[in-house]
Symmetry: C2
Subunit: 198 residues, 2 copies
């Protein structure tokens, strides 16, 4: 609840890295302590328990994403520009916080239910931000109740990138965003009659 101290930030970053590589249940507090150069009791001086670590990593990450969506909303750009910016900035954040993003994606399910709910609520807010921009850009989508499915296909493209995209590779985050935006905005007009039984 308090603003995390610098030492706490280091611990959260180390935990995110280990959880991302080994999964939450596959990571021991002893490993984490060793990675931080602390004894286990010293680690427990900074962190109440293992689940709290996971919760704080997920909360901080999704709150950053939700804040980004609110910020873009406030700018009131044209729908296409807003969508482009959302994609570009999300991929930028994912590139900066790839461990945290992977933990949110794969390990959220290990949190106790009540703790998950607040995070899932923020996730829904993020999804709505994209879905609203899509619906504004292509009202026909919303009429066919396809705004959410298409939004999730878009999230598939960007959320899946951690499995293959290397930030130090030949394709930059910005080029990747161009590619996603090209595919999405080029493909949207074709969706007029899709989604219906053939």
């Amino acid at each position: 609840m308090n603003p995390p101290s610098p030492r706490e930030q280091d611990i959260l970053a180390a935990a995110a890295s280990l959880f991302a590589q080994q999964g939450y249940p596959g990571t021991s507090m002893s490993q984490l302590a060793a990675a931080c150069g602390l004894s286990k009791p010293a680690l427990y001086h900074y962190v109440p328990d293992k689940a709290e670590l996971l919760a704080r990593i997920c909360e901080a990450h999704v709150e950053k994403l939700a804040a980004l969506v609110r910020e873009e909303r406030a700018l009131k750009l044209a729908p296409e520009a807003q969508l482009r910016e959302l994609v570009r900035r999300f991929l930028q954040v994912y590139g900066e916080a790839r461990h945290e993003h992977r933990v949110l994606t794969e390990d959220l399910k290990f949190l106790p239910e009540p703790r998950q709910q607040r995070i899932r609520e923020l996730e829904r807010e993020v999804v709505s931000g994209f879905a609203d921009a899509l619906a504004a850009l292509q009202p026909a989508l919303a009429q066919q109740q396809l705004a959410k499915p298409v939004t999730m296909l878009l999230f598939g493209m960007i959320n899946w990138t951690y499995t293959w995209h290397r930030p130090d590779g030949p394709l930059s985050d910005a080029q990747l965003a161009e590619l996603v935006n090209g595919l999405l905005l080029g493909g949207l007009p074709a969706l007029g009659q899709a989604g219906r039984a053939s």
Copy 2:
């Protein structure tokens, strides 16, 4: 190595379900035994160890996908038709084997390296099948070395569906495939000049 007995198939299916929900390290062999209505020693009569379970689930699933790609290749359809069919049939398989697909996606990393390699090789074969079809459809992509990135964005759309798409929901697997194909094939022409630094 031997063809799995019906009992073994049940165990693999139960294991896939538990691994998908709780993760591989988060699932105990006692839990699995209980889910199968077996004692733990009885379970170990059918399965040598925990990692072997994970390996067989991943291998069987990726082999099915690789076989599907080879089958489509042999049909020698036109590039667009081939791509459409690949997307449609992959989403169909994912719908039938959602647990196995999630396990392959999230838990493959827990296998010992040598065991991972054979599976990753088959994954690369699958990716190449899609990338080749994409390159045949849009030669400009291959020239800009964008066939692989675009292929991975496509896999993002379809591989991410397990996080949100419910087979018993309002959107059928077939409609979902239509949506993905519409977005992909509609968006491809727009990618001529994407992926370059702006």
